[in-house]
């Protein structure tokens, strides 16, 4: 077994133009910074990106948008990115907006091998257009399909060489489900450790789901909205 690669360039080597990629993170929280930089550098395009948000103008997925490498975004909220707005209004970018819980569960269903599920979210709204409606206990639900991707890219706090991953604080967000849903899953970690150094009780994503793993470098961990308590001294 050898899942360890030396860096982001090597990890994303199989990703080509036209691929569908899931990218973990919520806003800029827990995004795979190294792999995004490598995708920008590689210059591939026509990508379909599944990610809750689209980054900001000069960080996260905003970097791929700037270089017009993204053909389509599948997200729930994209309000923090002016370049996104410009490309969308000019018809340069396709976007599929999905309720956040539906997005999370569509990815989770792919991770669990379940093709579809029913949710009440979006019934009676434009999200329901073209979708099967079914009643359970007299309540209407929409059928939503599992969401798959050629590649999933996530960033974890710690990972071992067998691919087991541990996340810190709110960085689990979409990453744990995406890691399990990708056909090929790439994990970048802040700390790459040996098997046995992670307590099996602490594993958030089991190694079976992870195909490539590497020790990331130079994490910026940019904060989108730095809010602090006013302390009277």
């Amino acid at each position: 077994m050898n899942k360890v690669v030396s860096n982001a360039q090597e990890a994303i080597q199989p990703i080509e133009s036209g691929s569908t990629i899931m990218l973990g993170g919520f806003g800029l929280n827990g995004i795979p910074e190294n792999c995004i930089a490598a995708l920008v550098q590689k210059g591939i395009n026509q990508l379909t990106c599944i990610s809750n948000n689209a980054g900001v103008d000069d960080f996260g997925l905003g970097l791929l948008l700037q270089k017009k490498q993204i053909k389509k975004m599948i997200s729930s909220y994209v309000g923090e990115n002016a370049e996104f707005e410009r490309q969308l209004l000019n018809g340069e970018l396709e976007v599929d907006l999905i309720p956040q819980g539906t997005l999370a569960t569509r990815i989770q269903m792919a991770a669990m091998g379940i093709p579809a599920f029913y949710t009440p979210a979006g019934f009676g709204t434009e999200v329901a257009f073209g979708k099967e409606v079914r009643y359970f206990n007299n309540k209407p639900y929409l059928m939503e399909l599992a969401l798959h991707a050629d590649f999933a890219i996530v960033k974890a706090w710690k990972g071992d060489t067998m691919g087991n991953l541990v996340f810190r604080k709110t960085t689990r967000n979409f990453s744990t489900s995406m890691a399990k849903a990708g056909n090929i899953t790439i994990a970048e970690v802040e700390h790459l450790v040996q098997p046995g150094e992670i307590d099996p009780d602490d594993v958030h994503v089991a190694g079976i789901y992870v195909h490539k793993i590497f020790q990331g470098v130079n994490y910026e961990k940019r904060i989108e909205k730095r809010t602090v308590k006013i302390v009277n001294k």
Binding site: L97, Q100, T102, T105, K169, S177
Partner: protein, 218 residues
């Protein structure tokens, strides 16, 4: 006098009961956390994966790995729990959240809500709002009674794309507390010094006015 946003938040805080699990939306709803009565334990959920969200951190406490759904840096209370987005929306969908407070651009007399899109202008996305309103047991909308142009936001039917259908239970505005009933908006309380006439004038949806409408107490 009409309430300001802090007054609206204070009034909403009176809806809290000890032990409630509460999700607060962005904007005025977020302020509600500042007015939790003493001796009451309220657990705030943030849909990016927190139960037990605490106040903003001090400069020293700021942790880039810990944010709320508004992407703000936050802290955790003692006894907090963390999880992923799929589980977070699982607990929302399964009806575990006791109270959801969110903002709105329009509310209809039947309890429909619109708060995510203005056609022709920028579409930012619905985020978690559609999931929350479709499943929450108790939804309170916190908003100004009129839009910046002075037009009523309480309508016979929403004109903007809907977020959810027949889901809002109560609306708390700068002017009034209104309950959604099968017959329309029931005026329960009014801001001190605001007349029922003014509320009538600024409510386009069907409004039911009892003979005696008490003032909002803060």
């Amino acid at each position: 006098m009409a309430l300001d946003k802090f007054g609206i938040a204070k009034r909403i805080a009176k809806e809290l009961k000890d032990g409630m699990y509460v999700n607060l939306g962005i904007g005025i709803p977020t302020l509600v956390a500042n007015y939790v009565p003493e001796n009451m334990t309220i657990i705030f959920q943030s849909e990016n994966g927190i139960l037990g969200m605490g106040p903003y951190p001090t400069e020293e406490e700021v942790d880039a790995d810990l944010i709320n759904a508004g992407k703000e840096t936050v802290t955790l209370i003692k006894g907090a729990a963390l999880f992923d987005s799929a589980e977070s929306f699982g607990m929302i969908r399964a009806g575990k959240i006791d109270l959801t407070v969110l903002g709105a651009m329009e509310v209809s007399e039947q309890g429909d809500i619109a708060n995510w899109k203005i056609p022709g202008k920028m579409v930012k996305g619905m985020g978690g709002a559609m999931d929350l309103v479709a499943s929450a047991k108790n939804i309170i909308v916190a908003m100004m009674h009129t839009n910046p142009k002075g037009e009523s936001k309480l309508l016979p039917a929403c004109t903007l794309p809907l977020t959810g259908l027949r889901c809002v239970k109560k609306v708390i505005t700068d002017l009034a507390v209104l309950e959604i009933t099968p017959d329309g908006f029931l005026l329960k309380e009014k801001a001190p010094g605001v007349t029922v006439e003014e509320i009538k004038r600024k409510t386009l949806g069907k409004l039911i006015c009892p003979d005696n409408v008490p003032d909002i107490e803060l």
